[in-house]
Symmetry: C6
Subunit: 74 residues, 6 copies
Amino acid sequence: METWLTSLITKTPQEGFELAIKLSRMGVKYTQPSAEVRDKLRPAYAENADSLTMASHVVAVNFQTVAAANNYWR
Amino acid sequence: METWLTSLITKTPQEGFELAIKLSRMGVKYTQPSAEVRDKLRPAYAENADSLTMASHVVAVNFQTVAAANNYWR
Amino acid sequence: METWLTSLITKTPQEGFELAIKLSRMGVKYTQPSAEVRDKLRPAYAENADSLTMASHVVAVNFQTVAAANNYWR
Amino acid sequence: METWLTSLITKTPQEGFELAIKLSRMGVKYTQPSAEVRDKLRPAYAENADSLTMASHVVAVNFQTVAAANNYWR
Amino acid sequence: METWLTSLITKTPQEGFELAIKLSRMGVKYTQPSAEVRDKLRPAYAENADSLTMASHVVAVNFQTVAAANNYWR
Amino acid sequence: METWLTSLITKTPQEGFELAIKLSRMGVKYTQPSAEVRDKLRPAYAENADSLTMASHVVAVNFQTVAAANNYWR
């Protein structure tokens, strides 16, 4: 896989949250490398409330990591 | 996306909890940007006990992050 | 919303556990503000083993936060 | 509720694990106070592999808290 | 229950991971003490992808605890 | 089992993420040692959005551990 993650440090909390989203998506991508398959799954998934909550949960876990790495941008 | 998160620091624990709720909702919004779709999903979701528990779980994870950032408002 | 959370500090671990329960319920309440709807959901939910385990899980996550805030009542 | 939790400190890791189990069960008990209902739910639950994994998950989260409280019994 | 956990310290990360697996299984065993029932559940469970992911999740949570106890074997 | 984990330290965050993926897969492998069975489960699993989110969740938990071990590569 190409280089996609060189640092957990971000300038702002929001960039950190967006990095958490990227980490969550990469966790999926390593399991399902086909962009075609992932795109096919997206519509049903993005219209299911529980699926969206599950996605937000993964982001929250990754955001814990990124926030700790940045000492909570204090 | 517009700027929506500039700090994890809040004045009180309750404001921290409410920030955790915002983070949880933004985790959904990044996956499903359409407010129309999200609004359509809400009624069924908000009347399903397990869906509500799942939502509360995500808030709890985000609240861990916000509470740590604020040194637990000690 | 009225003020409901002014501190994470409790006198005993048990009070801390009970605060974790309150946090878990407030996570639900922010998503479903209607007490009537929440009461309607309760019977089925409280008699489903997996729903109860899920609820206990959220309490466990919130208890981590409260326990850390209180330096584990050491 | 009667006093059931006065300290997170235990003599051994195993006692800590058993405290984590107690915390997990109390998380259920606060939601479903009826011992009769909980006993009725137990047979089906204890013979469902996913339900058992979910229970073990909650114990793991509570064990994190107890282990940290005891400085990992180092 | 017999003594099965006297320390969280292990010589290597791999032994720590294997201790995390033991902790995860003991979380199940305390809920379902019958080896016969657990063995009966295993085949279906071990051939269901989501059940396996759930099991790996519990191991990951316990591995966090064991790794912290060992100061990450640094 | 052969030696597969001698250190949690990695040179870069991306290698740390990839180690988290390995840990997640090993959590499955210890439960289902048969590569044949695991391969048989993969197609359906890799085309189910919720299964992929669950997998990404486990990676996120393990990444927390690896990131802490590496002091977040700061």
